[in-house]
Symmetry: D2
Subunit: 372 residues, 4 copies
């Protein structure tokens, strides 16, 4: 469904970049969960544009919960979050209304909506729509954390620069995730972070932009979550991640490197620690669409921001004439560092929904133990 | 939903590798479509195990349509396809029932289903379940072809070997797709095909397996299909592709290479031919989740078959003791060439559903032209 | 899904009676539809509490569209409507927080939400939640009217009083619907209206309440809309109508009177006018779940308002002690006249969704005419 | 979705009256449930045409489970049931192919499917499609019974005859349900049963048909199941019940009689027994869409069978000429007694799905007890 996703919990998103506000409705949350509002703020901070490496459109992104929340707890009814759009400069867009911005949805939106779309600042296509997703994702993560399930992401690659890898040791990985979740520019290696920020500034100086890859880990997800086919962990998470504007690739575990491995290398041998685990984790914690108890590893490729100041070739949608385009306005030379928490949020939502489906299915737990 | 997917058309899959039969229900098809049964057979042939490069389990995979089909035409009601399982050797599995096969879903299935799963031949997790998907996909492709929408895939990479690329010229690409759709081992370069088949035999001789990457193209999909968020072309197709067993990565257009590009390289400049097009196609025909009229380009990474004859380390699920495992039975040293038509089928289903959603939305076409 | 319904268009509702606001998101609307805001206001007026026959809680119910609407037209993205709650007197509820109001959801809500529900004014269960449904329904009706599809309802029965019936002649019925759609107290017979208002005042004076039955008609719905099973017109409309608080019965055509008819009386003979029609309309315009071109006739039974001022027996949920209860606050002695437009709105939404599904399915219209 | 319904469990139905077979796929069942196949047979017997009061088309309706079932237990994957059509006499239909049968879906099907529908024996519209629903419903009921949740129905009214009412005492009601579940002609009063069978024979002798009302009860459903809006118990059950061919009305508790009650009569006072209960049950065990622990009471009105032997007026769809019609073939003079188990089955499916949704939502049960 267009702006709605999920089975046991669902989210519905709405709003445009330059409309009065944007928002999200989370439906199906359990009642009686104490939401940590401070934590939502912290997560919102991670998405905020700050300093010279991000756009100069600064929004305070104050989160207002207008339903489903009473006396500090979820009520169990649909929970709607609103975020006002305050710092909009719509006139930046009127003069390029028909000049199609390369890499953006301008042309495909014209074809789909016949010119009725809100073209200002990308309208409904804007990355701004991800702000309420972060607020909703924060609630989902808080719920998952009561089950010890942690999610964290780092910038695995930014243009030519690579971060240190996630640890193979679960205790060390847990610490890495906890550290990442306190950072605003999420790398495992501090020095790499500085180099990456420098690379973003260079791209900005060149009136250009850059992208990269985020690597995410989920730990302590019990084995047995997910389904063989359309509710496979991969299917659900990929569906959500590809809904984030600018994502062009998603892979799990060794991902596309699986193509260059033999079966004997790719297969993760089972070993006995206290519990059954795998020696390697090429499958990224997922076999047959279902968790195997190892960390879930996800790679999300985000293209360079399409809004660049360099002169670009384009066409005017109305006159059908070739044009050159100089984008004005305020834009991000890179969105990778801000997209990180959006990726975390989408993952949190998907995992919570899969957990709830699994819970639904345990309806006969006691009876089954009798039978078998 | 677990074994069901789709909005305007949906598919529901059922069956196990060693059960009496496997099948699929396609719901929501238009009535009055004349199904070309010969074409279904041809598509089924592409998935069949043949020769020494595939498993020796040979199934005739005869497709039986038991509902929704009358006098050669679709009736418009749910159409169910059955395929019998004939060549099963279930005893191959009983002695390894508890010895978890690395890379397979054995362990995660035990954790999920508490031992009640049909473990024979992978049960419901088996690639065999993709046979009815091919039959259903064939019907979807036939419908798309009445709209001139063509889908084709080739083996872009098989282990260390790479095929020639898709052409950038639409007419040439069309010919390539038409040629691919007649081939059983789908490469653009004939010599590469021979080398790839050789590489599969080598892997087989080593008692090992290999995987690779499929590249798919959709042509003549009108601009304006898809949605900004959860029904983005990327979200829907990735959801479907990740439901195919062994898929570990999906990307669109330049995919993960987007991470190493600058915005000025990645952006596809708009140019005026007879219609508005883009100069390059790094975005794989999709902007903001919506088609832009250029070919849709998809990459699907398939891991090496987990069933290998080499001795592997594992654990016995019941005794929790470490074990070695020698898989017997009949297995594919590579499934890439057979998976090709499954990928085509999933794509066809997804695109047809998105087209129907777009059709649904055109309810006011005439009225809107009045208004604006 | 809990607070979400629909296939091609969907609605998601949120809010509580005494929260800051209530609202709805309509997703899947076509782009480029010019919304008549004045018409929304008129429809909202029909639901408003007015005069002595309704509650004294007066809300201005100003409708604010915060997304999916640009320059007077729908954009085609999710359209969210907010309505502020202004006239709340929450203290009326605090002293009866645990004293379960008979006929209300207090007890079942405690059992479901474990006490975390917003108990003020019925919270999420309040009839107040139907205000945004009316706004959304008004948009749906406006769209349907471009197709000449009209919907209208009258108070068929209020306690012991019965209105005149709908006409059997389509032209007359059309006039009746048009007249009803201008009325705030919707009866076909003016005198009956006065008697009914009198009956409501009498119930009010007795500190009691009354209910009744609404009869709705849809005209000009083309034959062939709907599905044999789960998307039957009856299934979809009943699902929506039973989501309105206080509805306890839904029937179509002759409804429960079908039980006392013989087949020879109940069957609607086909006759040839300019087009094929039926002589009678016991089936309410629906055969096999699908429209037959005759007016769709629906009956919706609404129970008497559970909030009455008379002393009632109850139990305190906390102390588990028997109690007497005197409900205070402001309440409706009858909601039938206000519920009418809510019923119209639900019907409009359901019919629009079914029409869009039908449109989706016509994807091959031209090709099929070739074939057959 | 057309032939698919459900959230945590779903059913997908397929087949036509005169096709090779009909069937259903139940998806989302828990694994490890031991299915009592004998019980399925018993339930199928209740739907079978027997004796002179039903059609002479006798099908053995042998149920074949072809997936999702292994060694006597559910596997947790999609479970498909097939039932062969054996006793078909398709030639009975060819000569009336275009003569529209009054009360049937012939005309609406022509308009929807443009003549491509399988017209033989009602095709996909046939009551025959309910046979697999009974098999699936039997499995759902077996699962509910492990939770002590029992469902039973009786023929409340058949034409002019009325059965004795359900008891207001839960223990007595339980016995009534258990007795009903052993009967093939389900009345509480034995004498009434004989009179009803007599009335059916009389209608048959008159070449006519009759219908009536089924009353169903669900006991031991815990309080707190269901949702305020679109997943209200009423919405879900009505959706399912209106999907049964020939159902024209559904109501809960006092149903349409609510229209003639005052609030002080209609409200069910809360009283303290060992647990909180209500003194009366006009609301049929449901407040605000959610169970209150009292028996759920449902009324389903089924119209007289449209196939009657009496001469009827109609129109030929092809020639558009007025015609008389004498239906041949084998038909039921009444389907109420056979529909009873179909109603039970739909209810069982809906309640199981709602229970599973409730289970999904209890994900934080322990954590919440900590918090509050």
């Amino acid at each position: 469904m267009k702006n709605n996703f999920g089975t046991n919990i669902s989210m519905t998103i709405f709003g445009e970049s330059h409309g009065p506000c944007i928002g999200i409705t989370l439906d199906g949350l359990p009642s009686g969960f104490k939401i940590n509002l401070e934590r939502i703020k912290e997560d919102m901070e991670k998405r905020k544009a700050k300093g010279s490496i991000s756009t100069q459109r600064h929004e305070d992104d104050e989160v207002e919960i207008i339903s489903g929340f009473f006396n500090g707890y979820t009520t169990g009814t649909s929970l709607t979050i609103l975020i006002q759009n305050k710092n909009t400069q719509s006139k930046d867009y009127s003069d390029i209304q028909y000049r199609l911005r390369p890499g953006h949805a301008d042309f495909s939106a014209y074809e789909k909506y016949h010119g009725f779309q809100d073209y200002r600042g990308g309208g409904h296509f804007s990355g701004r729509l991800t702000a309420p997703i972060v607020a909703a994702g924060s609630i989902c993560r808080q719920i998952l954390e009561t089950k010890n399930i942690l999610i964290g992401s780092h910038i695995e690659q930014l243009y030519a620069l690579h971060d240190a890898p996630f640890s193979n040791h679960i205790d060390e990985l847990k610490k890495q995730i906890q550290t990442l979740n306190k950072k605003e520019f999420a790398t495992l290696d501090e020095q790499v972070a500085q180099n990456m920020e420098q690379a973003i500034l260079e791209a900005k100086n060149e009136q250009d932009s850059i992208g990269g890859i985020l690597e995410s880990a989920i730990i302590n997800l019990p084995a047995g979550i997910g389904e063989p086919f359309f509710d496979s962990i991969e299917s659900i998470l990929a569906h959500l991640l590809f809904s984030i504007p600018a994502v062009k690739g998603v892979s799990f575990g060794a991902g596309f490197q699986m193509a260059s491995k033999k079966g004997s290398e790719a297969n993760d041998a089972f070993i006995m620690n206290d519990i059954i685990q795998t020696k390697t984790n090429n499958n990224g914690g997922i076999n047959g669409g279902i968790s195997n108890g190892m960390p879930i590893i996800i790679h999300t490729c985000i293209k360079p921001t399409p809004s660049i100041y360099k002169t670009q070739e384009t066409v005017d949608y109305k006159t059908k004439e070739s044009q050159t385009l100089n984008i004005k306005g305020r834009h991000d030379p890179c969105i990778l560092h801000r997209a990180r928490i959006v990726v975390d949020s989408m993952i949190a939502f998907g995992i919570l929904d899969l957990l709830m489906s699994s819970n639904a299915n345990n309806i006969l737990e006691k009876e089954i133990q009798h039978e078998s």
